[in-house]
């Protein structure tokens, strides 16, 4: 029993080191992502244009009018519009300026 406990303690000993090593790097990157990066990491997985849609029903947002896109994003952010993916928090930490930049990015983008 003693050797088992020692064994467990020996195996657990790296955990604090592991956790301490990881903790400082969890910072939110909302303030560092450009509109292009936000579009790539957050939006393109479902909305394209690189054939990576999560399903074939995702609406096309590329080249849509900026005011329309901005309005819809704000409605998702405030919960006025419901969607399993969009209204559960994807846009929760975006500032109004970032939403504006993202809407501008997609309004100016062109479908491949």
């Amino acid at each position: 029993m003693k050797s088992h406990n020692q064994h467990i303690m020996r195996l657990l000993s790296p955990i604090p080191m592991l956790l301490a090593g990881c903790l400082p790097f969890s910072a939110s990157q909302a303030d560092t992502l450009s509109a292009e990066d936000s579009a790539y990491y957050l939006c393109s997985g479902c909305h394209g244009p690189d054939n990576t849609r999560v399903d074939f029903m995702s609406p096309n947002i590329i080249g849509q009018k900026k005011d329309y896109l901005l309005n819809q994003m704000k409605r998702f952010q405030t919960g006025q519009r419901k969607h399993p993916y969009m209204s559960s928090g994807v846009l929760s930490n975006f500032t109004p300026e970032e939403l504006d930049q993202l809407a501008t990015y997609y309004a100016n983008a062109r479908q491949k």
């Binding site: 195996l11 790296p14 080191m17 592991l18 090593g21 990881c22 399993p84």
Partner: protein, 476 residues
């Protein structure tokens, strides 16, 4: 900036040194990913609970687990998750008491074992701008009584365009071949996601499957995805030494899986295409390496090579119904001169083949029904498949439950599984914090260790190992 980069590299190195502790167990999605992306589990996972990846989930992994800025917990906590897996198992025939475990936590019953299979703590998600992690620390409180870094994948990823082609690329440090992959036809992520730890299993298993459960590899690979169609990956793996394995509690028992000595090259390539509701992939992967059967890097070595061919097809009938089929063929070529010399095998060379064919129907990302067929066959080797090896030149004894009397690795089985995943679809306030999967699995053997009846010479038949397994996965 330079100091920050050095600190990141230092911590990655620190984590990498722990990778060798890996005892692979089936891993899952984590609520931490959901909190980071702000999306429900179903955005990345078919059936709303990993590991089956949607195209979005595949992209999230390709990009290094860094996407998302929706942390719904304080930053220091957001990347942590936990999971608990418990089950009850019934086999058609009883086994002797203590067959599966006998330790300070208790003794396994002759049948109808209720166990806490394992509990896990995860650290998953972004750890730097383009660096992310998937770390799973497992606690096995009953069977095995172990603590291990079960699954580990730390990757750097980026993307670019080249001649109008989109290219994702990255490097990953991880603790097992196929850990870096995306498909359930690879051994790190294979379906079914969980199988009973208190039921008899065939004596033979493909090499990469064996590496998941005890050879404690660590390695690094580089990968690229071109236009979301062509995926190429290459790298190498090795094992830690015997003393480290002993220290980590993963040394002991049958060592037929052995120690990888030197670098073992790993390759993976596949082609995938998505056309409307159809998703199709075909690929190959494998590993080749020198293996010490006695866990002695200075001793004689075996040489193994495993080739796999795999294919997946999904058809999305409508928003609610998804059909899926997957196939894998595995071929192991094993040069076992050292194994024969050391009494671990009867032959100086063996081969093992395995096929898996699985079909699934998923409804509303909540209900799943799967039907599967597994078959394996190969050269007979009494010392390799008798359930205990041959030592000192003595006549081999046959384990009455896990051994093969004729030394054959041949087994044939059918599986049916039903799953219920009530959460993970963005309909509940609990979604980023809790997910649950309930599964009922039945496994029926027509051949086990080379025979349908009396396979071990002790009167036990293949159908005695038919297994009913009810398992709950809870992640939070």
């Amino acid at each position: 900036m330079k100091q920050r980069t050095l600190m990141v590299l230092y911590r990655i190195g620190l984590i990498a040194t722990l990778l060798a502790a890996g005892l692979m167990q089936n891993a899952e999605a984590t609520p931490a990913f959901s909190r980071q992306t702000g999306e429900p589990c179903s955005a990345c996972h078919m059936q709303s609970y990993g590991p089956w990846l949607t195209q979005y989930g595949q992209k999230f992994k390709l990009d290094g687990y860094v996407a998302g800025n929706a942390n719904s917990l304080p930053t220091l906590l957001n990347n942590f998750s936990a999971e608990s897996v418990s089950s009850i198992t019934n086999t058609q025939g009883d086994v002797p008491k203590g067959t599966y475990f006998s330790n300070s936590a208790g003794v396994s019953n002759t049948n109808n074992n209720v166990v806490n299979d394992w509990d896990a703590i995860y650290y998953t998600g972004r750890i730097a701008e383009k660096v992310g992690s998937y770390l799973q620390l497992n606690f096995s409180p009953q069977v095995g009584r172990s603590v291990s870094l079960a699954m580990a994948d730390i990757r750097y990823a980026d993307h670019t365009s080249f001649n109008d082609h989109h290219v994702n690329y990255g490097v990953t440090v991880n603790n097992a071949p196929t850990m870096s992959d995306f498909w359930m036809t690879t051994y790190a992520w294979m379906y079914p996601y969980t199988t009973s730890s208190v039921a008899p299993k065939p004596a033979a298993q493909p090499w990469l499957a064996a590496l998941m459960s005890g050879a404690n590899t660590a390695g690094a690979t580089a990968y690229t995805m071109i236009d979301n169609h062509f995926y190429l990956e290459g790298g190498g793996y090795t094992s830690q030494g015997k003393s480290m394995a002993e220290g980590l509690g993963v040394w002991g028992g049958s060592q037929s899986n052995g120690l990888l000595v030197g670098g073992a090259p790993y390759w993976r390539m596949f082609y995938q295409t998505i056309e409307g509701p159809h998703t199709f992939m075909i690929g190959t992967y494998g590993l080749s390496g020198n293996v010490s059967p006695s866990y002695d890097a200075g001793g004689p070595l075996n040489s193994y090579t495993e080739y796999n061919v795999d294919s997946n097809y999904w058809y999305m009938l409508d928003d609610d119904n998804m059909l899926m089929a997957m196939f894998r063929y595995t071929r192991d070529a094993m040069e076992m001169g050292a194994g024969k010399q050391g009494g671990y095998s009867s032959n100086a060379g063996n081969n093992l083949n395995a096929t898996m064919l699985m079909g699934m129907w998923t409804y509303k990302q909540t209900y799943n029904l799967s039907l599967g067929w597994n078959d394996q066959w190969g050269s007979s080797d009494l010392c390799l498949y008798n359930g205990g090896g041959c030592s000192g030149g003595a006549a081999p004894t046959i384990d009455p439950i896990n051994g093969s009397a004729n030394g054959s690795p041949n087994s044939n089985s059918f599986m049916v599984e039903a799953d219920y995943i009530p959460f993970g679809k963005g309909h509940s306030e609990l979604d980023p914090y809790l997910n649950v999967r309930l599964s009922l699995q039945y496994w029926a053997y027509t051949t086990f260790n080379g025979a349908s009846s009396n396979y071990s010479g002790s009167g036990r038949s293949a159908e005695d190992n038919n297994t009913m397994y009810f398992v709950t996965n809870v992640a939070f």
